[in-house]
């Protein structure tokens, strides 16, 4: 079987983002999704630090330290974008105004619980940023992650063992092996990479996955 590359995963997520959507892409892997949004569609990227209509990274030498994204990297503003303060920015999230938020994760439970802010390691300095706000605010929360850890453990789990970011908040998980819809009935597989069977996925995850794949 062919695992999806990170770019392929990002491209797959991008397919599910319709024109006109208001979207927040979390720090790290989700940032890549921006590279695969169709150039002929208008999609609005929000950054928690107070901008809507975020554009791509500036050309070398054009960086402006006052124009950054949530990851504190230099960005640009599209024509038609605008700035606002932090309370308004998080009102956009918490108030349910964003259509889609794409986040990375340490673990996601089959019912949509998210763990992505803290490994629980006793000496780690905790840092949460906007993760908990993003987790509960957007109309749909997508997670993008490798299905397995380097040690081979599934990151899609029955119950999260890491500290939670939000409860029952993730609606869809995009991984390198499959795409899952989550809900009250647990996880449903909607797509798999070629050469992988749902039984193999059940073995890898240890979950009784629903089969929601559609034959091509």
């Amino acid at each position: 079987m062919n695992k999806l590359t990170r770019d392929q995963m990002a491209a797959r997520v991008a397919l599910d983002i319709p024109e006109g959507a208001y979207v927040n892409l979390g720090i790290g892997l989700p940032t890549k999704v921006a590279n695969f949004l169709p150039a002929d569609k208008e999609i609005f990227l929000q950054s928690e630090n107070g901008l809507l209509g975020m554009g791509p990274a500036p050309a070398k030498g054009e960086e402006d330290p006052d124009l950054i994204n949530a990851g504190k990297q230099p960005v640009t503003l599209l024509t038609g974008g605008c700035y606002f303060h932090h309370a308004d920015s998080f009102a956009m999230m918490r108030g349910g105004h964003l259509d889609i938020c794409v986040l990375g994760a340490f673990q996601v439970s089959q019912h949509g619980d998210l763990a992505n802010w803290h490994t629980g390691a006793p000496d780690a300095i905790p840092a949460v940023g906007g993760a908990m706000d993003l987790a509960i605010g957007a109309k749909q929360v997508f997670v993008m992650m490798d299905l397995l850890t380097k040690g081979g453990d599934s990151k899609l789990v029955a119950e999260c063992s890491y500290p939670l970011t939000g409860l029952r908040c993730v609606s869809r998980v995009y991984t390198d092996l499959a795409v899952f819809d989550l809900g009250a009935n647990g996880a449903s597989v909607i797509e798999m990479v070629d050469g992988l069977s749902i039984d193999e996925l059940r073995t890898l995850t240890g979950l009784s996955l629903n089969d929601a794949t559609v034959s091509a």
Partner: protein, 227 residues
């Protein structure tokens, strides 16, 4: 390409349903979206709950909507004015329900809805008739009243300029409730004097980002003549 502009006020309000909760911007007549209200009257939706600071002035705008008997309940801070005679008549006839809310609580509850808060503790109104029966709490030696957010299905607001993404700027004190109502309604419809090209609004000066606006209608340079 995303273009939130619609051709007419009539088209903009066509899906406002009977029984809808509708916020209407304005403080008195400043900022009142008259053309949208006229379209709503023509559209015919009834049993509406209206959230506005007042309860109509004279015979136009919200007053006309009241006169047409489309409003079951009004949530406002200051219904009684020298020219609120249509509301006054309905109220005395028992044909309209009034929820009176102190103006700052009205603003804070609308803002809380837009921001996704579940409730707020506000000092305003504590110990008064308007807090009767409401939960209270002492916090750091001061008394507060628990107040819940005010959500709406639609907001009808008036702004000065808008662009096709829905970004808005307002004019002077006609701004009033527009920005917070835009955040609190599921569907916000703005009437603007004109729709300007994308990029014409200063990104530092946009008051309502387009994410809070679903539709806008250009009504021309129809600044209301002084009454």
């Amino acid at each position: 390409m995303i273009d939130k502009s619609v051709a007419s006020a009539e088209a903009a309000v066509a899906d406002i349903f009977d029984g809808a909760r509708v916020m209407i911007g304005g403080f008195g007549t400043a900022g009142m979206p008259d053309q949208l209200i006229d379209a709503l009257i023509a559209h015919g939706a009834k049993d509406l709950t209206i959230i506005n600071n007042n309860a109509g002035n004279g015979d136009t705008g919200l007053a006309a909507l009241l006169k047409a008997k489309r409003v079951r309940k009004i949530v406002c801070s200051f219904p009684r004015q020298s020219d609120s005679y249509h509301f006054d008549a309905l109220y005395h006839a028992g044909e309209i329900e009034l929820e009176l809310v102190p103006q700052g609580n009205l603003a804070a509850r609308i803002q809380a809805a837009g921001a996704g808060l579940g409730a707020i503790y506000t000092p305003t109104g504590y110990g008064t008739l308007l807090a009767d029966g409401k939960e209270t709490r002492e916090i750091d030696g001061r008394q507060y009243v628990l107040e819940y957010p005010i959500h709406a299905d639609f907001a009808l607001i008036k702004a000065l300029h808008g662009d096709r993404w829905g970004n808005l700027v307002y004019r002077k004190t006609a701004r009033n409730f527009g920005p917070i109502m835009a955040m609190a309604a599921k569907c916000t419809i703005a009437q603007v004097s004109d729709i300007v090209p994308l990029g014409a609004l200063d990104p530092e000066g946009v008051v309502t980002p387009g994410i809070f606006v679903q539709r806008l209608v250009a009504i021309g340079n129809a600044v209301r003549a002084a009454a």
